[in-house]
């Protein structure tokens, strides 16, 4: 469903992605890595938000660079900065998206109401996005990604800033839709959530894939693997942080 071949991206001297290649036939692929590892850049490139310096990305057989409009119709995206407008309410965001994706008025309304219900946004449906909490903004953006029934879902940090109940709701929703054939490609820092959710795990460090395997084939706990392969927690003491008594 998602094919990424030899993708590289530089920003000046900084190499954000270095010859990344992978295939995602379906299921849920979780991309893990520290801040600045290249996860969001990779997501921007596979969604067509950013042009790679080299390489090719195909989604459902369509070249993201050459057939961007076709690709946009079949993917649902939760971008890093959410892609929401302060001048619209939660509900109006979904009303905006329906016709753009070719949905009729009644269908948009039905799907909108269902998504607002499932994501716990019903109470705040008339709230303007500049007055919403970060979690509400994120859930609105997620609802926008789901509204048109995409074939591939690309989510940047879907669990960051989300309350525990909504996190479980989103996790279960993603599991259900992936079983119905929607491929999910997500980035995350929520290591505890990934083993319950992902069918594939990919780890990125310094713009390169350092680990890519089926989630069921992990020989060690994910956290241990992550600390080993990607980033070891800093152990340095800060002696100036002490109680006044000592």
């Amino acid at each position: 469903m998602l094919h990424c071949q030899d993708v590289s991206k530089r920003f000046g001297d900084f190499v954000a992605l270095n010859h990344i290649s992978f295939d995602l036939p379906g299921g849920i692929c979780a991309v893990l890595g520290p801040n600045g590892a290249g996860k969001s850049t990779l997501l921007k490139i596979v969604t067509g938000l950013l042009a790679p310096d080299s390489g090719e990305v195909r989604i459902a057989g369509c070249d993201v660079a050459k057939e961007s409009l076709r690709v946009k119709r079949i993917i649902g995206v939760l971008p890093e900065d959410l892609g929401v407008f302060d001048a619209l309410t939660v509900e109006e965001h979904l009303d905006l998206c329906g016709p753009v994706y070719g949905l009729g008025r009644a269908e948009t309304r039905d799907r909108r109401d269902a998504l607002l219900r499932v994501l716990g946004l019903e109470k705040g449906r008339h709230t303007y996005l500049d007055q919403c909490s970060h979690g509400m903004r994120k859930k609105t953006a997620l609802a926008m990604a789901l509204l048109h029934n995409p074939r591939v879902l690309m989510l940047d940090e879907p669990f960051e800033g989300i309350d525990p109940v909504s996190s479980v709701t989103i996790r279960d929703l993603l599991i259900h839709i992936s079983r119905r054939g929607i491929a999910v490609f997500l980035t995350s820092h929520a290591l505890a959530m990934i083993p319950q959710l992902a069918t594939e795990v990919m780890m990125i460090r310094g713009g390169q894939i350092v680990f890519h395997a089926a989630a069921g084939e992990l020989e060690r706990p994910l956290e241990e693997l992550y600390f080993d392969l990607v980033e070891t927690p800093q152990q340095e003491d800060l002696p100036w942080l002490r109680s006044a008594q000592s």
């Binding site: 921007k44 067509g48 938000l49």
Partner: protein, 338 residues
Amino acid sequence: MAALRAILAALGRAVSRDLANSFKANNLLFLALLGSSAEALFLLLGFLFLFPLSSDPLDRIPAARLAVWPLSPGQRWGLRMASLALSPVAWAGILILLKTKRVGLALAFCGLAVTMQGALALGRYMVKRDPHWNVLGGIPQLPGRLGGLVRKNLREMLSLMDPYAAALLSVGGGAYRIFAAHPDPAASTIMGLLTALALSTCGQSLFGLDLESGVARYHVLPLRGWEILLAKDIAFLAILLVLLLPLDPWPGLTFGLVALAVGHKSSVLLELPQQRWRFASGNIAFGAMQTAAGLGIGFLEHQQGPIVLALAAIGCAASVYYYGRRWEREQWLRLPPS
């Protein structure tokens, strides 16, 4: 003292930036060419300008941040007092006092500014309590594929001060047309063109209020660049057309089309900063082009008739298509890393 000095220095920078962005190269500056014959007009525009000027300088520090800083009550009081000196309204009040020597007038001016801020704060509070109080929320979704985007663009544009300055001109021109004993027929055309001029700076920064988040959404939606620009233009022209109805609409509409055709380039390539409830920020070169071409072609429409309007519409459509493609290309390559 060092803490207060640091906070006040930061506040001073924030106020000066805000001030600079409140009226940066707005096309209303070209109205100054009208000279002393437009005193009443400038008075009305000055009244509108009072809205952005009168905001509390201390509001620029997030309330939660200010609350957690370890400042004594005395320091907080000092900060409150010192911050008032950073208010442009206080400076204007002192200027009025020095020029007129009338304490009452200066105090009345400051009182008006405080009342305006009070009204705005009350409005914000009401909207926060119940979003239905948001007047702009009454704008319905327009039909069609781009209807939701046009609604959003209408709301964004109406959260700039420029449409209200244009509305003052429109109402003034309309009142003259209706109530004057022998209205000059040319006045309606001229007021229509000035109304379009007052709105035209918005056409220079059509993406100014979308922020990075909004731009990311445009890229995710299955829309062409020209469709996104078209949704912006429809909102601009809809507001302009309503404002032109009491006047001679066609020369003003021609001005609007020309202003958009010129403004697409700056909108796509310059990314001029924009703030809500401020006058639109423009670029002096693009503003001069919009004004000169808009007035010239607008007057030509008045003389030659609808053919000029049709040609302006074709030019604007070509500009939408060309800069729509440029926008797709430029933005795709420009997005920064996370």
